[in-house]
Every structure is written in C-alpha cells, then in structure tokens.
C-alpha cells in the first residue's frame, strides 16, 4: 500500500447554496479524473432550503478508512453561520477560504476572503453560480485537482443549459484565487506537537 497522504476539505453554507453539489463535483474531479481515492460525506437538516449544510471530501493516495474529516486542510465557508458552526478541526497548515460577501468575522489569520457571490452576480449575472466560483478557487488553493478535471465533473453533474455558466464561474473563481499569495499567509499559532491525538 502506498504511503497515505490524506487531504481533507470541508464545505459549509446554507441549504440552497449548492454546497453539496460543489462537493460532489469536487469528489468526482478528484476521484474519477485525478485518480485519487475519495470519500465525500455530508450532513444536513430536514429542511431543503435555508438550513445549515455541510459536506466533506477526503482525498487520499491510499484506500480511505475513516470517511470524514479528521483535520481540515481546507475549509470553504459560504456564509458566517456555517463558518461559526464548522470551523473547528483545522490542521496547522489548514486554510480557510470564505465568501467575502457573506462572511465578516474569521477565526483564523490563515484565511483567504474572496467575493464569490459578488463575482457570480456581477461577472456572470447569476448569484447562484457562487458555488462554482468557489469551487474554482478551491481547486487552485488545494493544488491537487486541476481545472480541467473540475470542468469534466461539472459537465457530467450539471444540466446542459447551466454548463457553460458554471464553467465560466469555475474559471472566474480560479482566477480570483490565483491573484492571492498563499505563501504570504501567516503560520498557524497552534502547533501540532501541543495537540492531543
């Protein structure tokens, strides 16, 4: 068995923002088109719209035992409520990616705030594409899943009439992320050695 390299992501937002769809597309890009082992899980309330929604993706070089996030490498928060509820479990190298338009307070300095909803509304004319803009940025920040793979996954999971819009959104989000300098983010204050297992 290959040495295990887990990369763990969590997406949080409101029901109706397309959080779970974004996670499914990411999982498909990683698992089908990039050849990773992948586990995508979700938790949600009984309400279809408006409640809190959370999805997780674990990608790994080896078969995945525990399917959920142990420590986040990347947390995508699409609103403040989800950020407040789900921001525990960061790894020391973890990065928060949040929608600058919908988040005002961040619990870590290792944060990138990008205006996904604004990008979607102003550049693409549909705020509902914010999830795909965010997904494009996730691809860049995580560095393991290429834009081409994400595009293929979008094509297989999104109805034809929305495909073009969603792919443009992916690119717009990726472009916004490329403007950021990840290396410039400050190190995590907490260190792994101090953490209990």
């Amino acid at each position: 068995m290959m040495k295990e390299e887990r990369y763990e992501l969590r997406f949080g937002g409101a029901g109706g923002q397309g959080i779970i769809l974004a996670a499914v597309i990411f999982a498909e890009a990683a698992g089908i088109h990039e050849g990773f082992y992948v586990c995508q899980t979700q938790s949600y309330g009984p309400e279809a719209r408006g409640g809190r929604s959370r999805a997780e993706i674990v990608i790994s070089s080896a078969e995945i035992d525990y399917p959920k996030v142990l420590g986040m490498d990347l947390f995508l928060a699409m609103n403040q409520t989800a950020l407040d509820a789900y921001s525990a479990d960061f790894k020391s190298t973890g990065i928060l990616l949040a929608d600058a338009a919908l988040v005002s307070q961040v619990p870590t300095s290792r944060a990138l705030l990008l205006p996904f909803t604004t990008i979607a509304r102003q550049q693409l004319g549909d705020a509902l594409a914010a999830n795909m803009a965010a997904l494009g940025a996730v691809g860049v920040v995580c560095g393991r899943v290429g834009l081409a793979s994400l595009e293929k996954a979008v094509a297989s999971r999104v109805p034809a009439k929305f495909r073009e819009l969603n792919i443009r959104a992916l690119h717009a989000g990726a472009e916004a992320a490329r403007q950021q300098d990840l290396a410039a983010l400050p190190p995590f204050i907490d260190s792994d050695e101090e953490k209990e297992v």
Binding site: Y37, V38, P46, D65
Partner: protein
C-alpha cells in the same frame, strides 16, 4: 448496467446498492419514501423498467413488503429499502416471508431512533430488531455494510443467500454509508456469482412444496409455472396445508432453523484485519468499522498489537470467528452507535475475556480518536 461496468464511478452507497441489486438479478422493487433510504427507490424507479423489471411505490411499508413477497412468489427477485420507522411496519410481513420461506432482500438504512428520532443522522440501533423484530421463532440473515464498495458486493451476497436458503435477508446500512460517495469500479457482470433459487426437478404431480431434503431448503416453484400449490403463513405440513399436529409443527420450525445452521460456514462472513498477532482487538460493523480500522492502524504504528474483526454477517451471529478472537486477545472493544447491541452477542460467546464497550448515541459517527483512546487504555 453494462455501460457502467469497468468504469470508475463516483457513487453513493445507496446508488451502489441499486447497481448491486440489479447485477444480482433483482427485477422488482416496492417501497415507500423515507430518509435516508429514498435514493434507492428513486434510482430503481429509473432503472428497473429499462431492464423489464417493475418498480412500484406503495401506500406504506407494510404494502411494500407485501408486494415484494408477492413478486418473489411469482418468481422474480425482489427488494425493498427503508429506514427505522418503515422497518417497524415491515416486521409483520417479514414474518410471513420467514414462515412461507420466500426469498427477498430488505435494506434498512439505519437512522437515529427510537420513533421518528433524527431522520437525517446515522445510528446502529436496529440490530436486535433486524434479528428479532417479527414475532415468533424464525430464522433470518442480517448483513452489514461499511463502504460504497460493500453496498455492491454485500447486496449481491444478500440476494444469493436469500435465494439459496429461501429466507429474507436484511442488509443493515446507515446514513453515513448510504450517503457517502466513493470512487468505485463496478465488477464485470460475468465475474459476479449469481445464485437463483432451486426450482423443482420433478413433474408437477410429484412436487411436494415443503418437503425436506439434505439442505433443508425445499425446491421453490413459482406461481404460473404449472406447480400449483398453497402458500400460507400458518404453520403448514410438507404439502403446504395448515397443520396443528405437534410432530409436523415441530419438524417445520426445526427445519427453518436447520437450513440456516447447515450453511453457517458460507453465511457467516467476517473480515479480520491485522489479527494474526493481535493481543487486543476491536469487533465492529458498519461505518464504525472504518473508524476502528484507522484506530487500529494508528495503534500498530505505535507498536501496539491491535487487530480488527469486522463483522459483515451479524446474524446468524458469527460465533466461531468471534470465539477465536476472544481466545487470542486479552481485551476486546465493541464500539457501536447504540447503547450496546452486538456487545451482548459477543459476551455470550465467552465470559472470560474482558469485553469493553464504547457507545455513541448522538447521531454522530464514532471517531478513530475515541477508539484509539480505548486501545491505549487496553
């Protein structure tokens, strides 16, 4: 099905269940919508008509189970899928399937109970109900799944066992396995072993529908095949007619049990991991066995000789495999997302090994850290 074979697919547990059932020859589904099992019905409604099968949404789970039995009596492999509240409603007709020996498969995607409970959260609270939910002495086979891949392979095994032993087989899934998506490659249909019920080899006038044989499983003739006979939930004699004669009643009930006992070696499926030199072990099933596997690996990396026995068959309880683990290990941990159901069965196997419990009932999956902490203490 064929166009999906060999490709890498991102599938949910519930979706893999459907693919597995179709590969096993399932051509009938009847059920009632319920979270977190509904995707199975939805996908079946799409897929079954294209392969000449039938999907029907019934008025409740009682009816769903009834229709499944009817279709199986007519010779078609049948499935229903539900969660706790619906599984409770199915118990009446599940008993009929046990008594009349009607092969069928019931998937119970467990969610937190009792009653309506937490409709979108996982649990493992239905283990005892799966075994003893319907009234009276009866045999039943209960299997548990832990990965998306399992959902495919285990439901194929479930259909095979149902057909071979003429018994309802219950597959316990849970909200985590059901909704987790993993990348899987579906096996080539030609590589899958599919077992069909034994049909009578004698002419109709010689056919004795419930006659005992070496396996204890009578040949089953379907309705409309010329082998007209009577099917009843009353205790019946070998011809299928109701009887109250003590010796016939006794022979009937004992045969129902014997046919399962005879098949223990192939029915009792377990998966031992790193057990060869283990001094402590975890016995787990369902999604929890994934957490256990990680904890055991972590313990190994720290030089602790830990192992895992994953139970795929919960009933008939794999006593032999558990006995070996208990004999080998000083202490054994049984983590469950209930207040302790399989641990009772483990304790019945032997009373000398120390059995440690770990229970979580808050609608959340037990984490590797919780299990690892126990392993350190053991």
């Amino acid at each position: 099905m064929s166009e999906k074979t060999g490709q890498r697919l991102l599938l949910q547990g519930n979706e893999a269940m459907v693919e597995g059932a179709l590969a096993a020859g399932c051509r009938f589904f009847a059920g009632y919508p319920i979270t977190p099992a509904s995707e199975i019905a939805e996908l079946m409604s799409l897929r079954l008509p294209a392969v000449g099968g039938t999907f029907i949404q019934m008025e409740d789970e009682i009816a769903g189970m009834g229709a499944v039995i009817g279709a199986s009596l007519a010779g078609v492999k049948s499935l229903t899928a539900t969660s706790g509240p619906g599984f409770s409603l199915m118990q009446e007709n599940l008993g009929f399937a046990c008594a009349a020996e009607v092969p069928c498969v019931v998937v119970n995607v467990m969610r937190t109970g009792p009653s309506t409970g937490l409709s979108t959260s996982p649990a493992q609270g239905d283990v005892m109900q799966a075994r003893w939910g319907t009234h009276g002495d009866h045999p039943v086979i209960v299997l548990a799944v832990s990965t998306v891949n399992d959902c495919f392979t285990v439901i194929v095994q479930a259909f095979n066992l149902a057909e071979k032993y003429r018994v309802p087989v219950i597959v316990l899934s849970d909200e985590i396995v059901a909704h987790t998506r993993e990348a899987v490659v579906l096996p080539d249909p030609a590589a899958i072993t599919v077992i069909d019920r034994m049909r009578p080899a004698v002419p109709p006038e010689w056919y004795i529908p419930y006659e005992d044989n070496s396996r204890g499983v009578p040949a089953m003739a379907e309705m409309g095949s010329g082998y007209r006979h009577h099917v009843t939930g009353l205790i019946h004699d070998v011809r299928g007619f109701p009887t109250e004669r003590p010796e016939e009643v006794d022979a009937f009930i004992r045969r129902l049990f014997h046919k399962i006992t005879n098949g223990f070696t192939e029915i009792q499926l377990t998966n031992p991991v790193m057990m060869e030199d283990a001094k402590i072990a975890v016995i787990a099933y369902g999604a929890v066995s994934r957490s256990a596997l990680r904890a055991v690996r972590q313990a190994r990396s720290q030089g602790i000789r830990a192992g895992l026995l994953q139970l795929i068959t919960l009933y008939p309880f794999p006593r032999k495999a558990v006995e070996a683990v208990l004999a080998q290990c000083r202490r054994v941990l049984v983590p469950e997302m209930n207040m302790g159901q399989v641990i009772r069965e483990v304790k019945r196997v032997n009373r000398t090994t120390e059995i440690v419990r770990h229970n979580r009932v808050d609608g959340q999956l037990i984490t590797p850290a919780e299990i690892y902490a126990h392993l350190l203490a053991m």
